[in-house]
């Protein structure tokens, strides 16, 4: 029983549609790519897709209630939701500087979560 999965290559602005053909969850063929870089991207996408996660954590004592954060590198796609759950519990306190590590090595991925904005200490006016 073969199965097909379609992705769009993001290697360049052309955006080729690439189809991966799987047999018992094993990648056996790729169609639709137009260059070597596209082929490599597709293999990676079909076997071990990774993403940079950007989200927010709560912050106390700043002008806004949320601090934007991101992972410093890509994490496995299947870890996205687990990392979201984890970060939902995190609260930080102002001041925070852009680049400050908020979570070190999140859930054993080897990737840190850092602040993407500087927020000074400030009492919030309602």
């Amino acid at each position: 029983m073969t199965e097909e999965k379609e992705i769009i290559c993001i290697g360049c602005p052309i955006g080729c549609k690439v189809v991966g053909i799987f047999n018992a969850q094993k990648l056996i063929d790729i169609k639709g790519y137009q260059c070597e870089r596209g082929r490599e991207y597709a293999i990676k996408e079909f076997t071990n897709p990774v993403r940079v996660l950007s989200t927010t954590v709560r912050i106390e004592g700043a002008m806004v209630p949320l601090l934007p954060v991101k992972t410093t590198g890509p994490i496995p796609k299947k870890m996205l939701f687990r990392c979201m759950k984890f970060l939902a519990q995190v609260v930080v306190y102002a001041p925070v500087k852009m680049g400050d590590v908020i979570v070190k090595d999140i859930l054993g991925t080897g990737v840190d979560v850092v602040a993407t904005r500087t927020l000074e200490r400030m009492e919030r006016k309602i």
């Binding site: 993001i10 955006g15 927010t56 949320l66 934007p68 939701f81 852009m98």
Partner: protein, 417 residues
């Protein structure tokens, strides 16, 4: 009255880049007037990565991109008036503003840069029939609520429009635990970047329904569902294709409109297609000494392009304030031709050096040639897509070949070679 050399209306990416360029090009007093509490504009709510690849040669999130410019603004001693709303600008470049500290105030400027950005088209602008319940948001408003205020506007969503903000919000809502039932796009092709279709929709198995639109909204107090229909080639709903989707929220990502109330009141001539000011290659509007940059001028896809455009604007404003940019007659006009919806800048006063033109096409095409009509100047492109702005640089050598023309007409045609 207080005098500044260059006054910049708006502290988003365009305003900051223009202010920095003005200062770097010799304007002594440069002031940014911003109605929000801080600088950065809409970048502060765009917490996702994808910014800066061209301008900074590295991938940044919106707040990071903003912060680089905020630092430059501070380092260069550019003044800011925050929490300040500009009420009027007049032809003599007198600016009338209001803020909680000073009340009403006036400012005189050697040159003015319009950098007010744009705002989102709303339900009213696209006329969806049905009831008027709570739960209908523009995608950008939802983005601000989620990313800056910590509020989630809904749990089960339908998104109308496949523009980038809509796609980004589909992912954001999904990551925050909401369910995005579908993204509905009236055009037969998606409007957003391929990267966003992949990483925001396909990644989370969110269906993208092309050639579909929302034809009715249900619910009394709160949205309870929407009816979607397939559309024909004239974008009219096809009877019999109606389908009901249960949801509590409808997000609209149906386009942006440059925010030009101030420009219009001042008497700046607007382009009916871009809805932004008509400008020359210095980004000077029809009023001398008033310049424009960023989404107030034309809606861009990439902030990197905004920063680059605003540098031209800021530099021109500084030159004008110093009396080094003298008035000139119109030399030639840039006119949209075949499959071109608009061209910016619309006017050339010098027609030399190199000038970058920005344009948008009407319909998607593969392997195209951008031709200047009745000339031997042409450029090849792999594709032309309405969702991706096309850019072309005319250089000294091109202008020599175009000499004597009063109009340069841009056509996008199939490339036969």
């Amino acid at each position: 009255m207080e005098y500044v050399d260059v006054a910049v209306i708006g502290g988003g990416p365009a305003g900051m880049a223009a202010a920095v360029a003005a200062k770097e090009n010799g304007a002594e007093r440069v002031m940014i007037i911003e109605r929000d509490r801080g600088l950065g504009g809409i970048l502060q709510q765009c917490i996702h990565p994808g910014f800066g690849l061209h301008y900074f040669k590295e991938e940044l999130t919106g707040p990071e991109y903003a912060e680089r410019f905020i630092r430059k603004v501070e380092e260069l001693g550019i003044e800011t008036k925050l929490d300040t709303m500009v009420l009027d600008i007049d032809k003599s470049r007198k600016i009338h503003y209001v803020n909680p500290e000073e009340g009403v105030g006036y400012l005189e400027a050697g040159a003015v840069v319009l950098a007010m950005g744009c705002r989102e088209r709303t339900r009213g602008a696209i006329n969806i029939p049905g009831t008027r319940p709570a739960g209908i948001f523009t995608a950008g408003t939802a983005q601000r609520l989620i990313n800056m205020d910590g509020l989630i506007p809904g749990r089960k969503l339908v998104i109308l429009g496949s523009g980038d903000v809509g796609l980004i919000m589909a992912r954001r809502f999904t990551l925050e635990g909401a369910e995005v039932k579908a993204v509905v796009e009236i055009m037969p092709y998606p409007n957003g970047l391929a990267r966003n279709i992949m990483q925001c929709l396909i990644d989370f198995d969110i269906p993208l329904l092309l050639s579909h639109t929302v034809t009715r909204i249900f619910g009394k107090e709160r949205v309870e569902g929407v009816e979607i229909s397939q559309v024909d080639e004239n974008f009219n709903p096809i009877p019999g294709t109606e389908e009901y989707i249960e949801c509590d929220t409808l997000l609209l990502s149906v386009g942006l409109i440059p925010e030009n109330e101030l420009s219009e009141k001042a008497g700046v001539e607007l382009d009916p297609v871009t809805n932004g000011p008509v400008v020359d290659e210095f980004r000077q509007t029809s009023l001398e000494g008033i310049f424009a940059a960023g989404n107030v001028l034309q809606v861009h896809d990439l902030v990197d392009d905004v920063s680059k455009e605003a540098e031209i604007t800021g530099r021109s404003a500084a030159l004008y304030a110093k009396g080094e940019l003298r008035a000139r007659e119109i030399l030639m006009k840039a006119i949209p031709g075949e499959n071109v919806r608009y061209v910016v800048p619309q006017i050339l006063r010098r027609g030399d050096g190199h000038v970058e033109f920005f344009m948008r096409v009407t319909k998607p095409m593969e392997r195209v040639k951008l031709v200047i009509r009745n000339s031997d100047v042409s450029f090849k492109r792999l594709f032309a897509r309405p969702g991706e702005m096309m850019k072309v640089k005319l250089r000294e050598s091109h202008f020599k070949r175009l000499k004597g023309k009063k109009e340069i007409i841009f056509d996008i045609v199939e490339d036969d070679d």
